[in-house]
């Protein structure tokens, strides 16, 4: 009984920190980061829990930052005419959403909805900029990793675009 009380008062936060540390270690871009740097980075991470069907953000809202999916599934939707929606992607644990909002304050390009009970780790622009001012080396390291991640996505999009273009040209030739 005494242990439970002490756990509640002192250890709950500590165990949360350890858990967050383990989760971030599993994310590819944070795997090579030094232990102390990761601990410093953890200070600006906001853990959030979402229930099934809960909206994470709506398309058109001002973007503040990105989310890393710790567990659960997220659906990305584009608003169409009226109440219709087009599903763009379904993202799983380890994926990212809203990373563009880390770089500029343009509105969200799509809506994000939790498809099941989901745990997210939020990283927001003002915190990242503050980290860049306080710890430029660490801030730059994180920025570089984010840039690599965005470049990877851009490469994939380019490949998809090229594929689509080739398919379109083939279809044109057949016609």
């Amino acid at each position: 009984m005494a242990n439970t009380i002490w756990d509640n008062i002192f250890q709950k936060n500590g165990s949360k920190q350890i858990n967050l540390f383990t989760v971030l270690r599993q994310v590819p871009i944070f795997q090579e980061m030094k232990k102390n740097d990761l601990k410093e980075f953890m200070k600006i991470i906001h853990p959030r829990n979402y229930k099934k069907d809960e909206i994470i953000f709506y398309e058109g809202e001002p973007g503040v930052g990105m989310y890393i999916i710790e567990s659960g599934t997220i659906g990305i939707y584009k608003d169409l005419e009226g109440a219709a929606k087009e599903e763009l992607a379904v993202l799983k644990a380890g994926d990212f959403i809203g990373e563009m909002a880390l770089l500029d304050d343009s509105p969200r390009s799509a809506s994000a909805v939790a498809l099941e009970n989901t745990h997210l780790l939020g990283l927001f622009r003002p915190d990242l900029f503050s980290l860049l001012e306080r710890k430029p080396r660490l801030g730059n390291e994180i920025l570089l990793k984010l840039a690599q991640m965005i470049a990877e996505r851009l490469r994939l999009t380019n490949m998809e675009l090229q594929h689509a273009k080739q398919n379109h040209e083939t279809e044109e030739i057949i016609r």
Binding site: K43, I44, E61, P62, F124, P126, S130, E133, R134
Partner: protein
């Protein structure tokens, strides 16, 4: 004939019901305990309020200090130090500045204050007013009208008495809050060190739908207010320094105290410069009785204001906070009614804070689909 199956059904259901009742009881029990704890907490806070209310000013002042000092701590942390080391270094620098000020400026400041005090003691407020009145009637014949002269005298007497009373109250409150001055650096230290964590814990309690909006609101207001308040204080410091230099060059007595007052008064937009120049003009009239010297002081303050409006303020003060002159008058009047001289001094910055927060809340409600 129908009894046995029903009984059998009841037998099957009962354990599930008991289980559900147990779960419901457990949840309700938890809720009841939470509710009782909340009530106990509120009652305890209300009962303890008279004893703990003296902590609030210390917390408020520490919050302002932490708010103002955090960019400096960030800069020092930027050099590769831990946050605690950065705060410690800043404390050492501030301590050095305070010690140097005590050595160089406080003797002249205390000399000026004791000189003012001696003047007030030897010539009480009535004699000062008579002296002022005589000088004014000599220079301005319109004041020779006995009725007008009596009216001016009464008003001046009331003003001096109120000022004396206010300054005495201020001195008493400063002495009685000596313990607060000792605790301030400690509270400020922890606010500077764990401010980010505190902010994070606070924002974590916000429901998901309002989370991003609150985060945005918090950061934007923080940035705008930080720029505004730091800018205002920096401008006040510059104006105060310029006033001290100008008054010293003009050989105005008590130049140091009057310069500080002019700097502080500059916190009040539009009227601050006039309020800041008044003590200097009064002192020059009382001490020298020469309107030529008064003209010198007026020109000096006019030049300082020109420099402020053309160079200092446009470069430093944030443009995001603009208050209409008419609003400034009303805000100062309300501030004066609520908190006297101090109220007048802090009314405009408080209004600016409220204005920025309201503006950002309205912006957020327009841009986020909160009811969706």
């Amino acid at each position: 004939m129908t009894n046995p199956p029903v009984k059998q059904k009841v037998d099957e259901i009962q354990p599930l019901d008991e289980q559900m009742i147990f779960v419901v009881n457990k949840t309700t029990g938890k809720k009841v305990i939470r509710f009782l704890l909340l009530i106990a907490g509120v009652v305890l806070c209300v009962r303890l309020l008279p004893f703990i209310k003296s902590i609030f000013p210390a917390l408020g002042i520490s919050f302002i200090f932490a708010f103002l000092l955090s960019p400096l701590v960030d800069r020092i942390e930027n050099l590769g130090l831990s946050r605690s080391s950065a705060i410690s270094i800043l404390y050492l620098i501030l301590a050095a500045i305070i010690v140097v000020s005590l050595i160089f400026f406080i003797p002249s400041l205390s000399q000026e204050l004791s000189s003012i005090s001696a003047t007030v003691q030897t010539q009480n407020s009535d004699t000062l007013i008579i002296k002022l009145q005589t000088l004014l009637t000599q220079q301005l014949p319109v004041l020779k009208n006995p009725e007008f002269s009596r009216l001016v005298s009464t008003k001046l007497h009331d003003l001096f008495t109120a000022l004396m009373q206010k300054s005495m109250n201020l001195v008493f409150s400063i002495v009685s809050s000596f313990t607060m001055i000792i605790t301030l650096p400690f509270i400020t230290f922890f606010m500077l060190k764990d401010g980010q964590e505190m902010k994070k814990n606070l924002i974590q309690k916000v429901p998901n739908r309002y989370f991003e909006m609150s985060l945005n609101l918090l950061y934007k207001t923080n940035k705008q207010l930080g720029n505004y308040i730091r800018g205002q204080l920096l401008v006040s410091g510059i104006i105060g320094t310029l006033a001290i230099i100008a008054l010293y060059s003009l050989h105005v007595p008590y130049f140091f105290v009057i310069g500080i007052v002019a700097g502080l008064a500059n916190l009040i937009p539009y009227f601050g410069p006039i309020v800041g120049a008044l003590p200097a003009i009064l002192v020059v009239i009382i001490e020298t009785g020469s309107f030529g010297s008064v003209l010198g002081v007026i020109i000096a303050f006019a030049i300082i204001q020109l420099l402020d409006n053309v160079f200092v303020s446009p470069l430093i003060v944030s443009k995001s906070v603009h208050i209409h002159p008419m609003t400034v008058i009303l805000v100062i009047l309300v501030g004066g009614q609520v908190g006297g001289i101090i109220g007048m001094l802090i009314a405009v910055p408080i209004f600016a804070v409220a204005q920025v927060v309201t503006k950002e809340i309205i912006w957020s409600f327009k841009h986020y689909r909160l009811l969706g």
